[in-house]
Amino acid sequence: MMLDDETLMAYADGEHEKAAEIKAALASRPTLAARVNEMRALRKRVADAFAPIAHETPPSYLTAILMAPRVVPAVIKRTPVFALAAFATAAAVALIALVATGKIGAASSKSPSSTASNDGMFGPDFLPPFVTLTPRGAILTRPETAPPRARTVKPVYADAVWRLRPDAETIERHYPLGAKAQNISGKVVLDCRVNMDGSIDCVIDSEGPAGWGFGAAAMEVARHFLLAEKAANGMPAADGRITIPIVFAPRNCVASPSAITFEVSASAITSAPALAPAPARVVENPIWVRKPDTHALARLFPAKAQKWGKRGHVVVRCLIALDGSLTNCIVTNETPVGWGFGDAALKMAQQFKMGPQTVNGEPTAGGFIDVPITFAREN
């Protein structure tokens, strides 16, 4: 039997089908047997050199790609998403129910920090549980879990007015892939505080089923909400608290395309708020008085994407301030995600400024605008 290097290598790697025969032949050929041992030693040496990498914790951004949002090349819609009609027709692949209860400090809040009295009253649990009063003063103890959110002491109001709500496509884009693949639906209840500018900061109040990334996905979706300054009843929204249930539900197949149904949780239906009475104005054909130049593009182009020759497309939706600059921008579309294009586009949006009137003579301030930004390098 011919025992050349490739044969010995295959034998050393446990790949040769005539292993028994070779083993017998090697018994009388100590030099070749030593060669096999060398080959095995080399294999181990190479494997050992790279083994530590597999014991590192992968960077979180890699895990995040697999846990949360799915990269979907989305169609850029110029239609406003605020009107209910648009909300319904935009249901592309999934049907998502999404209703925000318009009550500050509304029910369904299960966190221990909000167990007690009605909002608007100072209850006996007003002191955070980690403060203990003793004759010698207050003792602050480190809470075992995250400190409870500061209690809102505002009267309950109803009828939140939304300037911006995520459309079905947005929610679809964030649908956790693994769950979607298995037709698993999920519900997340977010407990949110309204900022001065109408955006919301949320924590996850409940998430079910856990482990599919629904919570993280809902937190991403939450970035697409913007409240009007005042509720329909005139109460200011800022600093208020609002509970938002978000349901991810796979579309029940193509059977009857005409029958579009939203799966809405019962509690959400009863407390569904009125949408903005006057849908927010979307400004088109603005007259730009300042736009980012190519230097800005070069500076803000995400370095990693540049290195890898990645192109990106982002749409940011912004509120137009009185001076024509863009504020409260959010990313409504980012393709591909994970390369920093969204953040770069948000920075770039700060450099736009428009005139007080559009080409058609309509006022711009107070309206919304969708700004598409493409990141592409000329080769």
């Binding site: 290097d5 490739e6 290598m9 295959a10 790697d13 790949e15 060398e38 080959m39 080399l42 294999r43 040496r45 190479v46 494997a47 050992d48 050199a49 790279f50 083994a51 990498i53 597999a54 014991h55 590192e56 992968p58 960077p59 951004y61 890699l62 895990t63 790609i65 697999l66 846990m67 799915r70 990269v71 956790p176 892939l177 693994g178 693949a181 298995q182 990693k304 290195k307 890898w308 020759g309 591909p336 994970g338 080769n379």
Partner: protein, 169 residues
């Protein structure tokens, strides 16, 4: 992917994908970029995954293809940006190489200098422990080709290790 959870499978494979990417690219930064690009590609083309086939083999093939595309694109970019850009990229490559030297072991460094086809064979069989058959499938080559690449790669590593010993002693 019919009933199986691709995301979860890939999440479980992440440590291995990073290791394979390191063997393939020879640089920590390139490796994680390659993993990112590959899992994005895998998720987008999840529909093309045939149930019953091996997820590792499938994603390794995606990584191989992306990496080969990437080195070709880099080569053509360097040709296009003459000569000023070439100089700056040479500087970058120098810094990258230094970083690699600081972090990688002798063996990692030697593997990174192998020709692409030998490095792929070494990475799949010796680092990732694929069988010859599986590795040949990932690379879309006959098993004989895989075997000879592997043999040449091994010989090159052995030679490099020996010369290191000779020069340092």
């Amino acid at each position: 992917m019919g009933g199986t959870d691709l995301s979860a499978a890939l999440a479980g494979l992440l440590p291995r994908l990073r290791r394979f990417a390191r063997a393939l690219t020879g640089s920590a930064a390139d490796a994680d970029d390659l993993v990112q690009a590959s899992i994005e590609r895998a998720l987008r083309s999840a529909g093309q995954f045939r149930p019953g086939t091996s997820v590792p083999s499938w994603i390794f093939r995606i990584m191989k293809n992306l990496w080969i595309d990437e080195i070709r694109a880099r080569a053509s970019r360097e040709k296009l940006f003459a000569p000023e850009a070439l100089a700056s990229s040479a500087i970058t490559d120098g810094a990258g190489a230094m970083e690699t030297h600081l972090h990688a072991s002798h063996v990692q460094r030697i593997v990174s200098t192998l020709p692409e086809d030998q490095r792929l064979a070494i990475a799949l069989v010796l680092v990732e422990g694929l069988s010859y058959r599986e590795a040949a499938d990932v690379l879309d080559v006959p098993i004989g080709t895989l075997t000879s690449r592997l043999a040449r790669g091994r010989a090159a590593i052995e030679a490099a290790l020996t010369s290191v010993v000779e020069t340092t002693s």
